[in-house]
Symmetry: C2
Subunit: 271 residues, 2 copies
């Protein structure tokens, strides 16, 4: 009952937030009721099912950010001729294939579906009137980097997905691939500042896997063989990277000092 | 017969080139034969039918250009799930409405259809595997500028369309609107160099209509009222502007000095 209560609270904040009530891989089901009361999330598998995956998030510098769009999904529903076809014809088949790929830990299918569906989501945003652009030139460059590398390997090494913003969520098939990905990302997007520590958040140990102890090591990284144009470097276009893995669901914190909310006021701490 | 011959030669170079055999507004018809032999262009109205329109092309600086995509329309046909729906369901209705808008000189319908269809073309490019990005951040900024202005006026003043590249083709309902558009464009995209003469190609007289005789006049332009964020200026992001109007078809040149091709060698002159 407790989980259902959290679930309903999360859905009021943001529809997709209800997925975060569980860990691992979660499916958000549409439901049939007009008021959305039967739209809820179910866990497909927990985080231990596919524990090879490593996630690197590229937080794209806001200096380039387009004036943020006040239009949203509602505009897309009302004005995109392609959305209905996507929702009724394309997505249902993809969800079945995605569930299958996750159950079988079939990275190739998982990656192809993830990338295609991210791109199609942004396609219907662009098909909206007025059009919505969440991705920017840096997002496009990250996609090109991954696409070129995947193509040169003959099989996907990394999947990318972008939500309502320019930041790339990159899912590598395993730690070794994530390390090779990080070398490529650091080669193309060296840090603006000399501070490597704040340029990698989360699991920083991947830096030493990549042989990078300092900004000088980044400058010394060789050009990846699949990159044909030399010195395509965009310093400062990424704010920082986060290295993580598919996680568990929320946990009850017993130590008040670990919470982000002040239990006395109900407000965020230290803001 | 001569026109048919030119027509077939043009189509071999590029499908859409066959439209340029006529002036004014031209429709490129798909045809039914598998070999494309009955796919041809027809003139809807000549250039005198709607002579209020003024075209401003923003040639976007190549310094920002994404590594050019070797993928093309063939990839889109083979991999985009949305393309078939667009081609079979959306486009046929839009073509009928567009012919009607052109015949009636209905700028509002013309502009809404032009913008929506440009965006949808780029949406299916993005829905391609690997995705194709023709527009970049500068293209997006030009769209936002036009959309905001059109919205604030309550009715479209300017239509935008982008082909396979980042350059914006902007069609203003008349000369006065083109002048107001140019002021907005120059405000947001001042020239990198101090040379105004090479920053405006074609009908340069629109600069004096806009009250701009020098780069200092551009710097003194007031912020357009619909722009909420001050000083959103992107110097150097546009290479130059072209001011033009819907034109006539090709003409036979009798003076050899006006041709671009050397009639003796058949090659381009002076290259």
């Amino acid at each position: 009952m407790k989980i259902m209560e959290n679930f309903l609270i999360a859905r009021q904040g943001s529809g997709s937030a209800c997925r975060s009530i569980y860990g691992g891989f979660v499916k958000w089901c549409m439901g049939k009721n007009d008021d959305g009361s039967d739209s809820m999330a179910v866990q497909l598998v927990d985080e231990s099912h596919w524990d090879d995956l490593v996630i690197i998030i590229a937080v794209v510098s806001l200096k380039q950010k387009e004036t943020s769009s006040t239009s949203g999904m509602r505009d897309t529903v009302e004005t995109s001729p392609l959305l209905q076809y996507r929702a009724q014809t394309v997505v249902p088949g993809r969800i079945l294939k995605m569930e299958e790929a996750i159950k079988k830990r079939d990275f190739e299918s998982f990656a192809r579906l993830t990338c295609a569906d991210s791109n199609q989501f942004h396609a219907v945003c662009l098909d909206t009137s007025p059009p919505i652009f969440y991705m920017n030139d840096t997002s496009h460059r990250i996609i090109s980097l991954v696409e070129k590398w995947n193509h040169s390997e003959g099989t996907p090494q990394v999947a990318y997905t972008f939500d309502a913003g320019p930041n790339a969520v990159l899912i590598a098939r395993n730690r070794k691939t994530a390390t090779l990905l990080l070398q490529r990302l650091l080669y193309c997007f060296p840090p603006q500042e000399n501070d490597l520590d704040s340029y990698m958040v989360g699991d920083k140990s991947i830096l030493s896997d990549a042989g990078v102890q300092s900004v000088a090591d980044i400058e010394a990284l060789p050009q990846p063989p699949e990159m044909k144009t030399p010195n395509q470097k965009f310093k400062g276009d990424v704010s920082y990277f986060i290295c993580s893995r598919p996680g568990a669901g929320p946990k009850v914190l017993t130590d008040e000092s670990h919470t982000l909310i002040d239990s006395a006021t109900g407000l965020a701490k230290g803001v």
